[in-house]
């Protein structure tokens, strides 16, 4: 019948066989969903944020469900760079799927150091830099919303790694174009948009915030229209690829991001709702494109009417 569309895309030197990955923090370190999802079916796997040293993260409660979304303030607990290499990297020897490691730090030196450590790991295909995590008081928020600090971090990481470098932008800025441009100018190979949006909920009976960390990040279908807008805006000013995310639940959602200007997409919160989402998205995109004789994702990218 219809020919299979060409789903391949490139992020710097990283070739993905399809444009669909998972959002950092929503898919663990890889093994957690391996029983339920055929990992090698994905364009890439993006793991939870990792810092140089092991980190304990926030107290509980760490998540809270809201209308059409959820709040999270996990606080980036993790085994640290060496811990990740020892504990989780061997797992990926049994898979071919490209591995994107999300990194973060409390200081510029942290970022630089963790990038350096991972630069030597052949199994890691790309680094995604989280400058936008709204949960860690020690840095995240600041790096992502102050363009000078932002440049400092991107520069510091760029210098330490030859791997494709993805900068994950903070959504809570007046003008995303400023940060998208800065990332491109500092030599990033791609940007990802968006992280969860700073938000909060309160239990009116106890007067306590619903998250131990007080504030957290809003994710899920609720934020999709915000994410689409940010991707569309950024796509107007940069040439490097954009990985779009925020509330992707269906092939149609993913296609909306591509049409808005993203080269790739990530499925996040939807994996909690239904772990089969990410594969369903890949298959659905393929089918949708084939039915319309769209020969490649590249052809579809940014085709929203001006």
């Amino acid at each position: 019948m219809n020919e299979k569309p060409d789903m391949r895309i490139k992020i710097g030197s990283l070739e993905m066989k399809n444009p669909v990955t998972v959002a950092s923090g929503t898919f663990g370190y890889g093994p957690e969903y391996a029983d339920l999802v055929d990992l090698d079916r994905l364009g890439a796997i993006t793991v939870k944020g990792i810092c140089t040293e092991p980190h304990v993260g926030n107290s509980t409660p760490r998540t809270f469900e809201t209308s059409g979304g959820m709040l999270n303030a996990i606080g980036l607990p993790g085994p640290g760079a060496q811990g990740f290499i020892k504990k989780y990297l061997p797992f990926f020897e049994n898979y071919r799927v490209p591995l994107i490691v999300n990194i973060w730090g409390k200081t510029v030196e942290d970022y630089s150091r963790v990038a350096e450590i991972f630069n030597d790991q052949a199994r890691i295909s790309a680094l995604e830099v989280n400058v936008s995590c709204p949960n860690v008081k020690e840095g995240g928020a600041l790096y992502g919303t102050d363009v000078n600090l932002f440049r400092t971090v991107v520069d510091a990481v760029r210098i330490k790694t030859q791997k494709p470098l993805i900068i994950k932008l903070a959504p809570n800025v007046a003008d995303i174009k400023v940060f998208a441009r800065a990332a491109e100018e500092c030599g990033a190979d791609a940007v990802s948009i968006m992280n969860s949006y700073p938000a909060m909920a309160i239990d009116i009976e106890t007067r306590k915030t619903q998250l131990a960390n007080r504030t957290g990040g809003l994710s899920g279908p609720a934020i999709k229209p915000i994410a689409i807008k940010l991707v569309w805006e950024a796509a107007k000013v940069i040439k490097i690829p954009i990985i779009g995310m925020g509330g992707i639940y269906s092939p149609e959602d993913a296609l909306e991001f591509i049409i808005a200007g993203a080269s790739a997409v990530a499925v996040g919160t939807a994996s909690f709702t239904d772990p089969s989402t990410v594969v369903r998205v890949i298959e659905g995109m393929e089918k949708w494109m084939a039915a319309r004789k769209i020969s490649s994702v590249a052809e579809l990218k940014g085709t929203v009417q001006a």
Binding site: G28, T60, E65, I74
Partner: protein, 261 residues
């Protein structure tokens, strides 16, 4: 662990506020071990992104059942599902109850609320039957007494209002009984219920150097160990680390748990 679209075979009021939901789950059903749970996508809850976790009450090749109470919007929506409807689930999840130790002569179950249901498979599986302490607010809250008796367990009931069994807390009844026991080392505890009860059971076990397996109830998002929502503090040589109730638990040995304050 697998994901399966199941069909509602039976759905009815079970007792008091509790409902029984029985699902045809040929893939998941046969795999369930005592103390494990399933993660349900509640139908008609379109604005909710999270699944809801429920302990498996009974399971076999034909299907599995849960006992649940309507406490919020997810469980309220669940009450409206009808026979023949489809429910997607992931399961079996978590690390459940272990077999009793080889020195254990008398297993002791302690349960409140849906804990009675969560302990049923373990009660059925254990090769030795012992004593079961069930607590609740009122007679209506004490589930499955006859079922446990049929399995051969000595069931002791306490209710806050004295409407069934002994009046008072389940832990008070447990205390009295423990005080009478000569050979504490022949005991092994298995508990599921409200947090305060679990902590009280754990404290008693530790004081008496007993092994106590506690099934912890924590809010969950992914249910499979990926999101780090459901963590509790587990003691380590150096201090403590986070352990995930959905993967490393829900069942933990009392001595492992570092209770917050």
């Amino acid at each position: 662990m697998t994901q399966e679209t199941t069909t509602v075979i039976e759905h009815r009021l079970f007792q008091g506020d509790y409902r029984l939901l029985k699902l045809s789950a040929p893939a998941v059903g046969p795999l369930v071990q005592p103390g494990q749970f399933v993660h349900l996508r509640v139908p008609r809850l379109a604005d909710a992104v999270l699944r809801r976790p429920f302990s498996v009450f009974k399971a076999d090749a034909a299907g599995l059942s849960i006992l649940y109470k309507s406490v919020g919007k997810g469980t309220a929506a669940l009450t409206t599902v009808t026979e023949g409807e489809e429910i997607n689930l992931i399961g079996p999840l978590g690390t459940g109850f272990p077999m009793i130790g080889k020195n254990t002569k008398t297993p002791v179950l302690v349960a409140g609320g849906y804990g009675n249901a969560a302990l049923y498979l373990q009660a059925a599986k254990l090769p030795v039957k012992g004593i079961a302490f069930f607590g609740g607010r009122s007679a209506i809250d004490i589930l499955c007494v006859d079922e446990f008796k049929t399995l051969g367990w000595d069931v002791r009931v306490t209710t806050d209002d004295g409407s069934l069994g002994q009046k008072g807390f389940v832990t008070a009844a447990l205390d009295l009984w423990l005080a009478e026991q000569k050979n504490l080392q022949a005991l092994e505890l298995f508990a599921c219920g409200p947090n305060a009860m679990l902590k009280a059971v754990g404290d008693r076990a530790i004081q008496n150097s007993l092994t106590a397996w506690l099934s912890m109830d924590r809010n969950m998002a992914c249910g499979v160990g990926a999101c780090l929502t459901c963590v509790i503090k587990r003691k380590t040589a150096a201090g403590w680390e986070w352990a995930r109730c959905c993967k490393d638990g829900p069942v933990f040995e009392a001595r492992e748990i570092l209770w917050d304050e």
